[in-house]
Symmetry: C2
Subunit: 214 residues, 2 copies
């Protein structure tokens, strides 16, 4: 059977999320580089796959799928029983995985992505970082991480004592914030968040997804 | 068995999402009013259920669950085979429901909620609408709705020819935009979006969720 095709770029957080999931599930894939710098994601060929013109998109047989969190969920379901289980077992566990995945998408993602965009990507395109926007979003993110700190004082991972998609979804932005944005103190100043981050960021699947190991 | 308890407020979009889902699934519930105007959602009693202090939260036996989209998914799974099926049948259908649900959460929700907040809620609290913010977010929303128009020219609903959570999740904000924000032209100017909106907003479950029928 043909391998899953991943259209993405190694710099893209959402591409990394999907790659990490593929590695956790031990699924082989073919990577198709979408040249962001050449604007390939806004060209008709890519827009036919994904009308929003964002990365990544996958093709698995007849199915074309975008939205990284939806792709991750699809992979976790399709390859149930292979690699790491990422969705929880009981209905209650699954509900809590979904709850914390939604927290990532609705409360964590917006401030984290704004900070990354302002600190890293705006200067890359020749602009100047909006420091007030960074400051405001750091404050927002602190409030979210304070809630995570409380939660992680009671369970090893967000949805319970098992690693899940809810944790995995946080890796791409947290990695950038720590590694490229000088915001490691947001993590290291919170004991349980720090232990959680050290645990999840040392997973082999994440290292493979970011090219840190082959 | 005790009924599901819903902590919410009739004005809250996320509460309405959950109520609509309960009605689609024909699940009885007890409603606990959280007095937003008295700030009850920021009091310790409610924060113990939901540390983010937003509505709604449900309690179902031992399970306490927040994030409206996660609650809706939980109800749709738990009551599979009862009321309207909302998740799709095959793995591919489920993936497309998830994809368009994520589009709602990631691309539709932010401009729609900003417009509603600026036009309706800022004046309610004695402030003045930021017209530039409204304008900017209307432009963002138009681009999203143009993609919906194209999609809905090919299938009756977002994920395919069946009503699903992906459609349901759009009801609360679309209803406010049409009914209270004077933005009905965003819908009526797009033939397929208009037909879709007329279809989904006339569902009995939605009318019950908004108190338009008992």
């Amino acid at each position: 059977m043909a391998k899953i095709k991943v259209y993405g770029h190694p710099i893209s957080t959402a591409t990394r999320l999907v790659l990490c999931c593929l590695h956790e599930k031990k699924v082989e894939y073919d990577f198709v580089l979408v040249e962001l710098s050449a604007g390939a994601h806004k060209q008709p060929q890519y827009l036919a796959l994904n009308p929003f013109g964002v990365l990544p998109t996958i093709q698995d047989g007849d199915l074309t799928l975008f939205e990284s969190r939806a792709i991750a969920k699809y992979l976790a379901k399709k390859y149930e029983g292979q690699g790491t289980e990422l969705l929880g077992n009981s209905l209650s566990e699954q509900a809590l995985v979904e709850q914390w995945s939604q927290v990532e998408g609705q409360s964590f993602n917006s401030p984290a992505s704004t900070i990354l965009f302002q600190i890293l990507f705006v200067p890359m395109s020749g602009g100047s970082t909006d420091e007030a926007a960074v400051e405001m979003n750091v404050e927002k993110l602190k409030k979210v991480l304070d809630i995570y700190e409380e939660r992680l004082s009671k369970s090893k991972y967000l949805a319970g004592d098992f690693f899940s998609l809810a944790d995995l979804q946080h890796l791409p932005y947290l990695d950038y914030l720590v590694t490229d944005c000088g915001k490691g103190d947001l993590i290291s100043s919170r004991k349980h968040v720090k232990a959680w981050w050290e645990d999840i960021s040392s997973r082999p699947a994440w290292k493979k997804a970011t090219g840190k190991t082959p």
